[in-house]
């Protein structure tokens, strides 16, 4: 996994946990929001859903194409078995039932839709009736997860630009056309922007964990549409609007919050909500009408006659189930238990997302302090992958030294930095080389007393309740100890001296 991906993960996770997938409902002027999410993910297959062209992001336009991709006359689709398997895998990870499924044609004209129909599972999707548990304890139902092909990508140029209407010309890149997608449709169980963000983040973790997708929202391999309505708590569902163009976890939260407030405003003004598709504009922070329900296309779905039924036999399903890795929620619980943290603690979320939870457990198994290891890994291993270069035993030794007072927290950080830089080492030797020796308490007390004696004014102010004055005293001790003193221990000593008066 690239570093970029890791930092992206960390960012989205931090955003999520800062918000917290709160159990408390979001309410606005007495209304609650009802949200269901439709998430499209590109599957991490080598080739496209119905042809042998590479499924690869970022290549020169129109290089990963063939007669099937372009919808040339006479071309026929052949289903990619690996795509089916990945869809089964993510469905099973989402607690879905894998079932007999068929493909249909969704007919509509658009220049980047080569055949003028999209092959998509319609009334018989491969995965149905699952759920996803959010780290905060909320369960969101999964209605279905179905396979379909992606479209090409249009770029509209000249004129007013950007959109097809008003531009002078358009360019189409068919590299993306036919890339396998799974659309994961949640039930309308989400009630707050935080839950929506947590759902997307958790879904992303699962997709990456099972290897179904790299799920990079910034590259479009994971795309989110939100169905949003509002209601008085306990009332019937309101009329919903579908929000498109949600390109980050952050915009998912912002958009549904804006949209719910917009709908509440309309209802309070006595206006009816119209069912429509709306576009999220990241720049102005609003949603705008794309098309109303009356303008919606009639897709004239019918079963795709060029493909046959996909009916995975129980043995195949069980093989796929057996191949599932331990899922993020279980890993978080395991890590939480070992470290004594809640399973939605930020460090637990971040470290598990980086896949470093096993490493922390290995440190514990090597006799280390799991709690301290978790903090060190979260803080110092952001650039490392699931297999950090520092041997678990070395980090275990470090946490042990910390635990029995041989190293202060400040010293431990310095030793850890050496370990990371050198890819391991003996913490005791490093500490010794740095001259970090456990300071005996008597020596530290003497330094504190010396500092008080040297700065009577500061001591008087500190005793008079001026907290700021403590800084000068602590600073003097740190200077005298050449930075070796434990700041917290110094503070404790100063306070006990003051109390003793």
């Amino acid at each position: 996994m690239s570093q970029g991906t890791d930092s992206q993960t960390a960012t989205s996770r931090t955003g999520t946990s800062r918000a917290g997938a709160s159990v408390d409902g979001w309410t606005f002027e007495g209304y609650e929001m009802v949200v269901g999410l439709e998430v499209h993910v590109e599957l991490a297959t080598a080739t496209k859903l119905f042809s042998g062209s590479p499924n690869r992001f970022g290549d020169e336009p129109n290089t990963n194409i063939d007669p099937v991709t372009l919808g040339l006359p006479g071309a026929l689709p052949v289903l990619n078995r690996r795509a089916v398997e990945l869809a089964m895998k993510l469905g099973l990870a989402l607690n879905c039932t894998v079932r007999r499924s068929t493909f249909a044609r969704k007919n509509y004209f658009y220049p980047d839709m080569p055949k003028a129909y999209q092959i998509s599972q319609y009334d018989e999707p491969i995965c149905v009736d699952g759920w996803l548990d959010l780290p905060g304890g909320i369960r969101v139902g999964i209605e279905r997860a179905h396979l379909e092909e992606d479209t090409g990508k249009s770029t509209h140029l000249g004129g007013s630009g950007g959109r097809i209407h008003g531009s002078d010309y358009s360019l189409i890149d068919f590299n993306r056309a036919g890339v396998p997608l799974v659309e994961i449709v949640s039930r309308p169980d989400i009630r707050t922007p935080d839950q929506a963000r947590a759902y997307v983040a958790e879904l992303r973790s699962i997709l990456v964990a099972v290897g179904a997708s790299d799920a990079k929202m910034e590259e479009g391999s994971m795309r989110v549409d939100a169905n949003v309505s509002v209601r008085r708590p306990g009332a019937e569902f309101g009329t919903r609007c579908e929000i498109k163009n949600l390109n980050s976890v952050r915009s998912v939260g912002r958009a549904i919050e804006y949209e719910a407030q917009r709908q509440v405003g309309m209802l309070d003004a006595g206006e009816a909500i119209r069912q429509e598709t709306r576009h999220w504009d990241e720049n102005d922070g609003r949603t705008h009408t794309l098309r109303s329900k009356e303008d919606a296309d009639d897709y004239r779905y019918f079963q795709e006659p060029d493909l046959v039924v996909v009916d995975p036999d129980p043995a195949w399903i069980e093989r796929v189930r057996a191949s599932l890795p331990v899922l993020p929620a279980v890993r978080r619980d395991r890590l939480a238990e070992a470290t004594g943290q809640p399973s939605d603690a930020e460090a637990v979320l971040v470290v598990t997302d980086r896949g470093q939870d096993d490493y922390v457990l290995a440190v514990a198994a090597a006799g280390g302090d799991a709690g301290r290891a978790l903090v060190h890994v979260k803080e110092a291993f952001a650039e490392q992958g699931a297999r950090p270069s520092v041997p678990a035993g070395d980090l275990a030794a470090l946490t042990t030294m910390e635990g029995n007072g041989a190293l202060t927290a400040t010293q431990a950080k310095q030793v850890l930095a050496e370990l990371v830089a050198a890819g391991g080492g003996d913490p005791e030797a490093i500490a010794a080389a740095k001259g970090f020796e456990a300071m005996d308490t008597g020596e530290l007390e003497r330094m504190v007393d010396d500092a008080i004696a040297a700065q009577p004014d500061a001591w008087a102010k500190f005793c008079g309740g001026e907290g700021k004055a403590m800084g000068a005293l602590v600073g003097a001790v740190m200077k005298a100890s050449k930075g070796q003193a434990d700041g917290k221990a110094v503070t404790r000593l100063l306070e006990s001296r003051r109390t003793a008066g």
């Binding site: 040339l72 006479g74 026929l76 689709p77 129909y117 358009s170 009639d298 004239r300 019918f302 060029d306």
Partner: protein
């Protein structure tokens, strides 16, 4: 060519055999030259193509070059395959790499496929020589080969008459001696009906027996490629060469090629031949008379004639004219002017689609796109397309019941002998009725073939259709071979 008794494989005046099996044997074994064979057929084309117009494109140079390659291979001791040096004409809805494929439509103007259809690759591997691309009703929609952007094909037996359709060019090419073999496609009778009208053998194999990869789709669940030939043995030879599983077509049946050739002489003793007592009316008296004689002939040959009922047979036409246009409306949506073929420029994208499709498609294609779009529309799906699917299942059940009692069924392939050009062009319904007897086997996926059996009014050929259950081509060919041996002379 018509009237030539090809079963005796007489050589013509220049000492070359006319039957495909004989050409292939002799070329393969170095007895005759593939180049001579191709020159002889190009000569026939030169002589009569002007009045018949079987071809959209004659591939003279490519065919000569390929024939020379075959001869060189044979001289070098290579086995050039079971169709070595045999000229084959292709319906112009099968993709040929680097050679235009038009579907007899203006909408594909300027388009050249970058790949070969699977049948084309298999023909090549079998040593065949593609001699040209034959005319058809636009996108295979029609029963007379008059709906072509490039003009009508005429029946070699009487050029004031149609050859049938939609594979009229391929049927006429064989009947006129332009090629001993050709390929057509059959969605509702488009091989069997023109075979009957042109007095040649035409076979629609079991759905999935021949790959559709590279066949430009009309109605995907009904389309099937099959052979035309002057006799049953030649048709068997071609079918064996093109059939068998293709991983590139998901609806292709697992397993190797069909083996039908070795059963041709087995006869029909003990075979149960079904007469459909509730067959839809509409066949003319001459055709009905030949059908009766065909039962007599098979009874004389030792078959047992049994009466069967296929009550839903009569609903086939109605179901077909919902299902086929529905699929066509989707299959033909890709001709939008964006990526290939004709584009008529217009101020915006939607106007460009409309202008391109208005200019590019002929009237019958437009009619079927509109019919199919309507049948699939919200609010109408259940009443039309959904209902038609139920009828389709019902027809399949009725045929399955009939095949409990009979091994094969006989019907006319066409209600009449060849009609005159222009007779039915102003009345689409009368044209659709041409396929009354052939449509059900497309709906069920079962095989069917037309074999010449005497003549009807004005001395024109009559074809008898032999129907069989899925993958029972062997018994179907056996029956057809017996009818061929006992056909009125």
């Amino acid at each position: 060519m018509a009237g030539t008794d090809s079963t005796t494989h007489d050589a013509d005046g220049r000492g070359l055999p006319t039957a495909a099996v004989d050409i292939a044997w002799n070329v393969r074994n170095g007895v005759i030259s593939a180049v001579d064979v191709i020159e002889r057929h190009l000569g026939e084309i030169e002589r009569r193509e002007g009045e018949v117009h079987a071809f959209n494109l004659v591939l003279g140079d490519q065919a000569r070059a390929r024939a020379a390659e075959i001869d060189t291979g044979v001289a070098a001791g290579d086995d050039m395959g079971p169709l070595a040096g045999v000229p084959v004409a292709l319906k112009d809805n099968m993709c040929t790499r680097g050679i235009p494929t038009t579907c007899s439509s203006k909408i594909l103007d300027g388009w050249t496929p970058p790949y070969d259809a699977t049948v084309v690759s298999r023909l090549h591997d079998a040593g065949a020589v593609v001699i040209g691309k034959t005319n058809l009703d636009e996108f295979a929609m029609g029963s007379s080969t008059e709906n072509s952007a490039f003009g009508a094909t005429r029946n070699p037996h009487d050029t004031s008459r149609v050859p049938g359709g939609s594979s009229g060019g391929s049927a006429a090419a064989v009947a006129a001696g332009f090629a001993p073999l050709s390929l057509g496609s059959d969605t509702g009778g488009s091989i069997r009906q023109p075979a009957a009208l042109c007095g040649v053998v035409g076979v629609k194999p079991t759905y999935g027996a021949v790959s559709r990869l590279g066949l430009v789709a009309f109605a995907s669940s009904l389309d099937q490629i099959g052979p035309f030939a002057n006799d049953v043995a030649d048709a068997a030879l071609l079918l064996e060469a093109i059939s068998g599983h293709d991983p590139g077509d998901s609806t292709s049946i697992a397993g190797g090629p069909l083996h039908v050739g070795n059963e041709l002489d087995w006869g029909v003793t003990g075979l149960r031949v079904g007469r459909i007592t509730d067959l839809p009316a509409g066949a003319s008296a001459d055709v009905v008379a030949r059908l009766e004689e065909s039962f007599d002939a098979l009874r004389d040959a030792g078959a047992e004639i049994v009466d069967v009922e296929v009550p839903a047979f009569t609903y086939g036409l109605s179901a077909y004219y919902l299902i086929a246009p529905a699929e066509a409306s989707s299959n033909l949506a890709r001709y939008d002017g964006v990526r290939f073929g004709l584009r008529v420029e217009a101020p915006d994208t939607n106007a460009m689609y409309a202008a391109t499709r208005t200019a590019g498609f002929g009237a019958e294609v437009k009619r079927r796109i509109m019919l199919g779009t309507y049948a699939l529309s919200a609010g109408y799906y259940d009443a039309y397309y959904g209902r038609a699917l139920k009828v389709r299942r019902r027809i399949a059940a009725d045929f399955a019941a009939a095949y409990e009692r009979a091994d094969v069924l006989l019907t006319p392939a066409s209600p009449t002998v060849a009609f005159h050009l222009g007779d039915k062009t102003s009345d689409p319904m009368s044209m659709y009725l041409c396929d009354t007897y052939t449509i059900p086997s497309n709906l069920t996926g079962d095989p069917g073939m037309s074999v010449p059996f005497g003549t009807g009014d004005d001395g024109l050929p009559v074809g008898i259709q032999v129907l069989a259950p899925a993958l029972q081509e062997g018994v179907m060919f056996r029956t057809a071979a017996e009818l061929e041996r006992r056909a009125p002379r």
